[in-house]
């Protein structure tokens, strides 16, 4: 395993907001508004993050080296040039993947119990 992968697997679970933001950025470069929209989309509208939650978490994600600011700017015809875009670092991608595996294992272990008490199959 690479040093980045090894580092990621040893990190503790992320906070929920941090996880949503990492997953919302995904393979793209996104600004705050796009992150907010994407979090809403991937959670089926259940999670609505405000500017405070997003940017306090972005600050910590930047500090942890999980995301970085992109220098590239989109076409001014398509977007506001003053926006800042964020993307995952190699460590961020690795941590996000680790987090998805953790969640997957959690759901797998809970599924038999959930089905046994009559929760609907998906």
């Amino acid at each position: 395993m690479s040093s980045t992968g090894s580092h990621a697997s040893s990190t503790p679970p992320l906070s929920r907001v941090a996880m949503y933001i990492l997953l919302a950025i995904g393979p793209e470069e996104r600004h705050g508004y796009a992150i907010m929209r994407e979090v809403g989309r991937i959670t089926g509208g259940a999670i609505k993050l405000g500017p405070g939650a997003i940017y306090t978490t972005i600050k910590r994600l930047l500090g942890d080296g999980l995301i970085e600011e992109s220098d590239e700017r989109p076409d001014p015809e398509l977007d506001d040039q003053r926006r800042r875009y964020y993307r995952l670092t190699a460590l961020g991608r690795s941590v996000a993947a680790t987090e998805v595996r953790r969640l997957d294992a959690l759901v797998s272990s809970a599924r038999p119990w959930a089905l046994s008490i009559g929760l609907p199959r998906t």
Partner: protein, 290 residues
Amino acid sequence: MTAFDMPDRPGPSERVYAGLMQLYPAAFRERYREEMVRLFADQLRDARAGRGSGGVVTTWLRTLADLASSSIGEHLRKDRTVAQSLTTFEPTRGMRLLGLLGIAGAALLLWAFISFNPFQDPAVNRIRLVAFGLAGVAIVLAFYRRQAVAAPNLALLTTAGVVIAGIWYATTVILSEGVDHPFLGSFGLMNMFANIALWVTPAIWAIGVLHTGAAWQGMSRNQAIATKLGVMSLVGSIVAWFGDDRLGMVDSLWGEMWQVLALIGVAMNGIGWLTLGAVLLIGRRGPKQA
């Protein structure tokens, strides 16, 4: 103008929101103000266009709640990283200092409890009352980060309750001394409710701590046991409220028993803060979890 553009001149709502950003730490504000105001403007634009999940009023209310929780959180954990570790318990210097303050306040409470108040000088006694009023504030602030990792909203709500109650109590002790007034006096309504809050809010906080289980994550076995005992002691301290009841309700309900319950509750409050303070003060790195 594209759907992503923001006009150069912000509207009244954006200006108000920009002003409210004074609530954040200066460094954070400096770095993120422009982006956050832009995001808020985007949300308002969606709300006005019917694309958001609510109207302008809903957007404002949601943003104010977000502002309140995130600004307090940013002040309390401005140096915290997302990978906030619950896998080890290693109190920072600030946590140890808060633990020490908690121990000092709780020790003063218990000392007076055991010695039947040796602090005869009113000025010294006031210092004692203020100190144990603030003991809980110190302890809950020290545990806030760990709590917030597991349940941010619950942590904020329960911590704020203890902080407000402790500061409120300390303030009324200082301001009401020698004052004979039905509202502001030593036995006035303000003082009475401050007393009640002083016993009730720690119990609520402690129930929250038991609920999340984050407080003792990563601690050694002995630290974890001490923490659980301290927290459970604080849950029990709610019975001290019966001793502070001055409306006569408790008297009629419990008769003579209220005095015993009150004393037990006060002792549990002191023991709870003392134990948690000791855990913070002598905390060592716990075993790493897989």
